[in-house]
């Protein structure tokens, strides 16, 4: 019984595959439309993930610099650093003493002689506070800034996050656009597969009538069309994957060259396992759904004639 069930499915799958192969031009056109529709959201998703990778992500780029008044003792700064570390939402706190800052400045600035001419160290003690990844939003940063600025020893609190927040907003917008594109193009894939299956049902009407007459259940009649839909979806998704990989290969060298000009070793990355799994899964699911909708609507109208 179970063997018969799997045999049925295998026959339906192979039969559907055979029918697609016997009409290579029509199948290729359908796959191309589906592939392009799936390639666009995949490419957009890849663009977002590459943009995040190129900028090192959002979280590592947010820094809060706390500049203390000139007469603040280093021990007091270290005490405040310990308090800050104990606060929720803070990843790291680094103390940069005025002496360390001066030594570093002397080493890298080339103004050593000028500094020697100064009677005292003009640089303040500084804390570099890095928020935790999940506490890097605008509201979290504002709360942290208020907390740090409330200390009487603090002269200035500088939040180096505005560009990150803007970048964050752009990526958020892109993600939203990606979502809309995925929904619209997914609906397009549904329509394409549904229409293809509708035409196939019409073309096989005599066969469907005979199968129904000899006792074929609705599930039996519908099965090859569902497999055809899934094969269209899977084929389209594989094509989309191939197109995007091709685009990445074409763009990899110019992007690397551009990155080198900015002193970066960044290399464009193609779709990962997760992205590929999502696009293949989406292709198969959309294919099944489109075929099911078409079969449910059109097979109902086909009854055998005497």
């Amino acid at each position: 019984m179970i063997a018969g069930y799997f045999t049925h499915h295998a026959q339906a799958l192979l039969g559907s595959l055979g029918r697609l192969c016997r009409a290579p031009f029509a199948t290729a056109l359908t796959l191309l439309v589906i592939g392009l529709a799936l390639a666009l959201p995949l490419a957009l998703a890849l663009f977002v993930s590459n943009a995040m990778a190129a900028t090192g992500g959002f979280t590592g780029a947010v820094d809060v610099s706390v500049y203390f008044k000139p007469d603040t003792a280093l021990s007091r700064v270290q005490q405040l650093a310990r308090d800050t570390r104990a606060r929720a939402g803070v990843a790291t706190v680094q103390v940069i003493s005025s002496a360390d800052a001066l030594a570093e400045f002397r080493q890298y600035s080339g103004f050593g002689a000028a500094l020697d001419a100064l009677g005292s160290n003009p640089l303040p003690n500084v804390l570099h506070v890095r928020p935790a990844p999940d506490a890097s939003g605008a509201a979290d940063l504002d709360a942290l800034r208020h907390y740090l600025a409330a200390w009487p020893e603090v002269d200035t609190v500088q939040v180096d996050a505005e560009w990150v927040l803007r970048f964050n907003a752009i990526l958020g917008l892109l993600r939203r656009v990606l979502g809309i594109a995925a929904v619209l193009l997914g609906a397009g894939v549904l329509a394409v597969i549904g229409n293809t299956i509708r035409l196939e049902i019409q073309g096989r009407r005599p066969e469907i009538e005979v199968v129904r007459l000899v006792g074929g259940s609705t599930g039996f009649v519908r099965r090859p069309f569902l497999y055809a839909g899934m094969l269209y979806g899977l084929g389209g998704a594989l094509l989309a994957w191939g197109l995007v990989v091709l685009a990445v290969l074409v763009l990899r060298t110019p992007v690397a060259t551009l990155a080198q000009l900015y002193g970066s070793r960044y290399a464009l990355s193609g779709p990962g396992v997760r992205e590929v799994a999502v696009v293949l899964g989406a292709g198969v699911a959309l294919g099944w759904l489109g075929a099911w909708a078409a079969a449910a609507r059109h097979l109902r109208r086909i009854e055998p004639r005497a």
Binding site: M1, A3, G4, Y5, T7, H8, Q11, P206, E207, E209, V210, V211, R212, L213, V214, G215, G216, S217, T218, F220, E303, P304, R305, A306
Partner: protein
């Protein structure tokens, strides 16, 4: 066993194709349905095959009430029937073997069993050895016999045939009818709708004569004259 009690069928266009028809057919019996075009022969077969439901009356086939049988049980019911058409209704892109095997595929019969039964059915209709040919490579008579093999391969309890000899010459028509008689002899109930009275007269089987949707002279009607149904 087939029982029609005061069965009527009115189509959506208002035409009443069958009017209070009453007859019964025993298991293993071969019966001819005759009558002019539009007399209701095809409607009786459509009701038995459940391509249509009766409007009124009680129609029972092998214990299944045709008026109340649920749609989800329809496929299983149809697997107990064999249907032969005048125009064969073969799948032109499939070889003879696949055409005949279709009812077995639908029923989930295993490939070895399927192979055995298809060959047996083709042997019964004299087409063993032609299983790899396409229907278009066969003569009209052979195509009709493929249709018959497809109808009987599932070992149906009831075999219905709608004008099965309409496209055949007299010799082939008699050959097909002899096939049907052989199936009836092994317990299959056979109902043949035909207006070919030469065939009807050749076989001494019971004949149900329909006229204007009604059974003429009861279910035990005498054979119609050669001119009565032309």
């Amino acid at each position: 066993m087939i029982l029609f009690e005061r069965v009527s069928k009115r189509y959506r266009n208002g035409r009443e194709a069958l009017r209070s028809a009453t007859f019964s057919i025993d298991r293993g019996e071969m019966v001819f349905l005759t009558g002019r075009s539009g007399a209701g022969k095809s409607t009786v077969l459509k009701l038995i095959a459940l391509l249509e439901r009766p409007t009124r009356g009680n129609a029972v086939v092998n214990g299944h009430n045709l008026a109340t049988l649920r749609s989800r049980h329809l496929p299983a019911y149809r697997r107990t029937l064999g249907v032969v058409f005048q125009e064969h209704r073969l799948l032109d892109d499939r070889p003879v073997f696949d055409n005949v095997a279709l009812p077995l595929v639908v029923s989930g019969v295993s490939p070895p069993e399927m192979d055995k039964r298809v060959r047996a059915a083709l042997d019964q209709v004299g087409l063993l050895g032609k299983e790899r040919l396409l229907p278009s490579e066969l003569s009209v008579g052979e195509q009709q016999r493929v249709g018959i093999a497809r109808a009987v391969v599932g070992k149906p309890a009831v075999l219905i045939a709608d004008e099965p000899t309409g496209n055949l010459d007299p010799g082939l028509a008699l050959e097909v009818m002899r096939l049907f008689k052989r199936f009836a002899d092994v317990g299959v109930t056979v109902i043949v709708a035909t207006h070919d009275l030469h065939v009807v007269h050749e076989f001494s089987q019971r004949t149900i004569v329909l006229a204007d949707g009604q059974v003429q002279g009861g279910a035990e009607a005498p054979l119609p004259s050669m001119t009565a149904v032309r």
